[in-house]
Amino acid sequence: MKKLTVIIGLVCSGLVVVAALVSLVWTPFDPRKVDGPARFAPPGWPHVLGTDAFGIDTASRLLVGAQTTLLVGVVAVALAAVIGVPLGVFVGMGHRIAGEVVARASDILFALPALLLAILLAAALGASVTTAAVAIGIATIPVFQRMARAATLTVMSQDYILAAQVSGIPGGVIAIRHVLPNITPVLGVQAAASFSMAILAEAGLSYLGLSAPQSTPTWGRMLHDANLYAAPIQAVIPGVAIAVAVLGFNLLGDGVRDYLDPRMKELR
Amino acid sequence: MSVLRVRDLTVSFGRRHLVAVDQVSLDIEPGQRLGLVGASGSGKTVLASTIIGLLPDNAHVDGSVTFDGQELTTLPDREFSAIRGKDLTMVFQEPMTALDPTMRVGRQAAELVALHSESSQGTTRQLVVDVFDRVGLDQASRIVDAYPHELSGGQRQRVIIAMALINRPSLVICDEPTTALDATVQAKVLRLLDEELASVDAACLFISHDLGLVASLCSDVAVIHAGRIVERGRTEQVFHHPSHPYTAGLVATASIDKVRPGERLPVIEDFFDPSTVDSAPPSESTNRPHRRIRRSR
């Protein structure tokens, strides 16, 4: 069953990656070319998934949209991890006052809902996919910070850390040599989960008009622009695409976690 | 009639059917105490878990276990649960984690009584205090209201023993009950177990790797190695005149105090070469019909 989870996760997320790669070199039609007379074509030939209100080929937009989807996930997770993990390790390694300050700052950030951040950021910098990804990333910093801190605490209680400390190895070296490698698996799982959360969050922001403009093909924006009554299928397609991507990365994360967490294994 | 009767019991795990208990048969008479001795991984705990029906989901069981004449391997969980904790109980190895940390210990014990009888809350509490008192818990009336983390390891193990005995069972399975305890506490708990088993007249399957403990507590002993019972008999008989080389090894390594200073300590391999004897290591069984037992943990 665990294997099945990982396989489905791999297939779903793999589909997204393949779609993004394919769209770099080829799409069936120009994903920005308006074709008035062809608007709202039902799925068929030559428009495999039909066309939208502009007569733009939905399949092409879907493929290109995969790029944006991945971009959002990568930017958000990378930002959150690059800032959150060092802070978490730093706090976890036992700097008392600095730790308290970081923890409180992280509390404030955590208390600021991601959406509020995104709204403010979009207001300050303008709504775009990048703004949305950055906002989601910032909002995810505390998640990584806390996760890294907890994992670091566990590692720090191990005897080999004590041994290292006793032999006078500086904290920075311990952090890089012993702590980081040991907390990486946990963070990897978190990264997969945050990745899918970021995709979902971006779809929400798109829905509120706080992410991509119409000219940028993204799944969230396609869903936002879809007319539920004139062509419901044009809402279902991006909706399913989002679900597949989120499901894929979620399952992947779960699969990896199950694999790493010995408690999840059946006892002999 | 035997209180417990195990026949040709084979337990294997997973898709690859890794065998943990292989063709084991044994009997325990009412009031009898049987020691089960073996090294880690020999299949002791799996055997105990099979008897009480708490094997993990991926286990396959073949053979028969009857308790008071009732077949257990095919018994539905609901009916099995009515026996567990009442007539058939178990004392676990790890007292630190065997109690729910979020519940007062008295309540955990009281629930166990209520589960198997219709007695009211008030009398149950008194019963629990009495039993706690009997197992040597000072200030038993205070301890019933304690959470597990407020008790020492020895106190917790006493609670667990109390819980195992509170419903006057006919068979108690003790899985290394004292291994996790300090040496001094170990002796006390063991004496307690001895007295209490006697007082409720319960039979006992006592699992241990420590021959000394088994010798002090059990009239009979079975030696398990690689999932098989390799020797069985009266305790003195087996320990003083082991017929199987593995048993001989066990006995010798246990008697380290007899080794003169400077001399090399004996190891089991001095007496027993696993590759030559019929006791094969856990093997993959093939073509063997397996019934998946009801999932339980």
Binding site: G36, F54, A123, P213, Y229 | -
Partner: protein
């Protein structure tokens, strides 16, 4: 200046229709005492129209809660409201209004000349630009007697009386203190409540001085999401979908037994505005090339479900001076390319910064695609209207092209203001407009046609289409004006048949 008979002519028409005071001729089988829910899209930021020019304020309040001396009817004619009659002096500078002696505010206070004078003077203090533009021409106002008001302009203006039919002409109850949340006027409905983010509710003015309102309460529900609006209408939650902003969904309402679809014109010209401060766009050839490159009928078909009239200048069909100039720049990409070549422009890259409205981003997508066909690279950016489009595009002129529907009536005058965000600076047009404004009424229309033609010839902007007045009502709702000639969603003419 010369004397005019314009006012007199209008007055003659008014004399006949005085008794109707704004009624659209309801059928006899009307019921009273029901409530009316109208779905609209944009919620006003405040109800204080002396501060904000948001069209959503008059949409809910004008003619319904607030009344003016004269109003505009569905045919675009000036009709009496609080004034039964008026006359214009021979120098076209002094307007004398006879107030309806029956007229009272909803509070019971009669609408006296003093009240009108103080209201107009109060309006002149307003920061709203519409108010200032409409009222700045007034030299002074005075009460001749209790029922007569005299307004003297500093110079004759054909636009002035028209402006007085909208927010600049609103006559406030002298007792009003809080315009932002508690409007008080003399209309058939009074302001009841404003559930922010949801609805504004009006209730019937029981003591209305004219023909009473036909509904006990009227709610304007604000639903910005086009799908949600259609859902609300389809689920029977709305009586009227006041602004159909997803014309592609019209097919849902094709059952004429259940719904009535009203499709008329508005005063809204959807304009592809050029920033005339940009050197490339200063070149008329480039602007004309862009106009030739855009298939406006195709745009209307694709972006607005084929609803809307293609226009050719800053005028709409209900303007008296309207002339169909839609054929000025037929869709001709070859010609567009040729004009670009003539202008010597290569690799033209333009920003198209549009406000987030139902029509602008889709139109931008369409235009970007079509301009791409003639080799113009267009970067589309969507901006929130209030917080980003206004400061960046409107105030700071930081854009090449933008798309806005100019909803006010006769807003062609904006092209005469070089400081307006287009930075259109054409002395010929300015003098033509000035001439029309101050001309004798009979010359107004031909003079305006000249002005409008200048804009078309110069390709001052690409006038895409007249925003349609697209309304869906449930069957049985009658009296909705086909053309929206004012900013008001005028419910005084609406009735529900049983």
């Amino acid at each position: 200046m010369r004397s005019t008979r314009f006012g007199v002519a209008v007055a003659a028409v008014l004399a006949v229709t005085t008794l109707l005071t704004g009624c659209g001729g309801p059928t006899p089988t009307v019921s009273t005492g029901k409530s009316l829910t109208i779905g609209v899209t944009l919620e006003p930021p405040t109800l204080d129209f002396t501060v904000s020019d948001a069209a959503s304020i008059p949409q809910a309040l004008l003619y319904n809660v607030y009344e003016t001396l004269v109003k505009i009817d569905a045919a675009g004619e000036i009709k009496p409201l609080l004034a039964t009659d008026y006359s214009v002096s021979s120098d076209d500078k002094t307007y004398t209004f006879q107030l309806d002696p029956k007229a009272t505010f909803a509070s019971g206070t009669p609408v006296t000349a003093d009240a009108v004078v103080s209201s107009i003077n109060r309006m002149r203090q307003g920061t709203s630009q519409i108010l200032q533009r409409g009222l700045s021409v007034i030299d002074h106002v005075r009460a001749v007697d209790d029922g007569t008001v005299e307004v003297t302009l500093s110079s004759p203006s054909n636009f002035w009386l028209y402006a007085m039919t909208s927010t600049p002409g609103i006559i406030l109850d002298p007792a009003v203190t809080d315009l932002a949340t508690a409007p008080m006027g003399s209309g058939p409905y009074v302001f009841d409540s404003w559930a922010k983010g949801d609805r504004i509710t009006l209730k019937k003015n029981p003591d209305y001085w004219g023909t009473p309102g036909r509904f006990n309460d009227v709610a304007f529900r604000y639903i910005p999401d086009p799908n949600a609006m259609v859902s609300a209408m389809l689920s029977g939650d709305l009586d009227i979908m006041g602004e159909m902003i997803s014309p592609d969904s019209l097919a849902q309402f094709s059952n004429s037994e259940a719904y009535t679809i009203i499709s008329g014109t508005t005063n809204g010209e959807v304009v592809l505005g050029f920033n005339h401060d940009r050197s490339t766009l200063k070149d008329r050839l480039v602007r004309q090339a862009i106009c030739y490159a855009i298939d406006r009928q195709g745009l209307v078909d694709t972006v607005w479900g084929g609803q809307g009239t293609v226009i050719g200048s800053m005028t709409v069909p209900t303007d008296p001076y309207y002339e169909d100039l839609a054929g000025a720049y037929p869709y001709d990409p070859a010609k567009a390319k040729q004009l670009l070549a003539e202008a010597g422009v290569t690799n033209l890259a333009l920003s198209l910064r549009v406000p987030i409205t139902p029509y602008a981003p889709p139109a931008a997508t369409y235009i970007a695609s079509q301009l791409g066909e003639i080799g113009v690279t267009v970067t589309v950016e969507e901006l929130d209207f209030s917080s980003r489009w206004l400061p960046e595009v409107y105030r700071d002129g930081n854009y090449d092209m933008t798309i806005v529907s100019h909803v006010e009536a006769r807003d062609i005058v904006n092209f005469a203001n070089p400081k307006y965000y287009w930075h259109y600076d054409n002395a010929d047009f300015r003098s033509a407009l000035e001439k029309a404004d101050t001309a004798a009424p009979k010359d107004f229309v031909p003079d305006m046609k000249v002005a409008a033609r200048i804009l078309a010839d110069d390709a001052a902007a690409d006038f895409l289409f007249d925003f349609p007045n697209l309304i869906v009502a449930r069957a049985g709702i009658v009296g909705i004006g086909e053309n929206a000639t004012s900013l008001s969603f005028d419910v005084t003419t609406i009735a529900a048949k049983e």
